[in-house]
Symmetry: C2
Subunit: 194 residues, 2 copies
DNA sequence: TTTAATAATGAATCTTTATTCATTTTTAGC
DNA sequence: GCTAAAAATGAATAAAGATTCATTATTAAA
């Protein structure tokens, strides 16, 4: 198994992403991935331990990339509200720009239940970003004090994921990023009338 | 294949639910399900077309039950706010009372992408319930007019699902239903301070 | 009790694929 | 251009597990 992350490695990884996204992990076959990558079946085993490892590495790689972006986005804001807007915008942008990733994160991550790993911590990292933002907002006074923060975080992440999920179901036919501000407005002000 | 939904049919369905929830659809085996149900492998095929059909029927059955409950819950309220509270409470209660269902809805429904069916409409039915409530609220004046309803619905459902998902990850160790009111408060009033 | 229909069994079959590895091709240093 | 190491190939292997079906057990009516 090669050690350096060569061009071929990433080529296979991307092909795998496309195939997993289209068929799901279990229905996807090694041959499909190999064919799409333009290599022989056996070649995959020079770069990956096994089929599961391909999924694992895909998710792991994407997670790293996306989190770097997200952290940068958060740091680009000053107030809690700015940071939140930047985060949600970044989240939607990254997923919009990589629909395979969006689909896989949505459908396959659940299958990694057993695999103890950094992967379990995808949401955790995200929720930690949110924690920081919420705490800052509470200090600033822009966010209420009387909140169950654990619930608020889940509330925010759940809603973004729901929006992404709908977008995926709609085959990515509309602009996802434009949902960011309306969504944050909902977080902040709720739906109550009068 | 039997036609009437006998006791054995439901026994198998429940066993399947437990096994699917524990191992996931693809890692679950027919033998595991049969053993847990206390019947022979072949017996499953007297009641179900194939393995996928078992999952399909499980989801289908649970969906019907839960939707009956949800509709009743909504109808038990008068104002939009009451209806929303009842719906979310019912949602959380039903999932709390049937963790296998919660896990399966969360992890496996995505796999039915290809299967065109009433199952695709799980969220749709739910979103329709929400539509009614939101529209009523807008007429009453308890919900703002200037909302993108499509987004609001997704926002609400996404957040509940997120909360359920966290509860499942935490192995169902706390009371899910008690999250209902705080959650609805978030929908209504948001997190903004002062 | 006999019998015919119905239900259940579980070992054998069949299919599908992930994985291996003996062989071939490519690469790069000389 | 030669050669040894590295990389790639893809046919053969092996394992798993879904599904079938000939056989056995159960049921219920006469």
């Amino acid at each position: 198994m090669q050690k350096n992350k060569s061009e071929k490695y990433h080529n296979i990884l991307n092909s795998a992403g496309a195939v997993f996204a289209e068929f799901g992990f279990y229905k996807a076959t090694i041959s499909q991935i190999a064919t799409r990558a333009g290599v022989a079946d056996g070649t995959l085993y020079l770069y990956f331990k096994n089929k599961e490892d391909i999924l694992y590495q895909f998710i792991s790689f994407k997670t790293n990339v996306v989190f770097k972006e997200m952290r940068a986005a958060v740091e680009s804001g000053t107030t809690a509200e700015e940071k939140l807007r930047q985060l949600i915008q970044c989240h939607l942008r990254e997923f919009q720009n990589d629909k395979n990733m969006a689909i896989i994160f949505q459908s396959e991550v659940r299958y990694l239940r057993d695999i103890e790993s950094q992967i379990k911590d995808i949401s955790k990292m995200y929720l930690d970003l949110l924690s920081e933002i919420i705490e800052q907002g509470q200090i600033e006074g822009s966010i209420r004090q009387d909140l169950f923060v654990g619930l608020v975080k889940r509330f925010i992440l759940g809603a973004v994921e729901g929006v992404i999920s709908t977008w995926v179901s709609a085959d990515g036919r509309y602009d996802l990023v434009s949902m960011a501000d309306p969504l944050v407005d909902l977080y902040l002000d709720g739906v109550r009338g009068e």
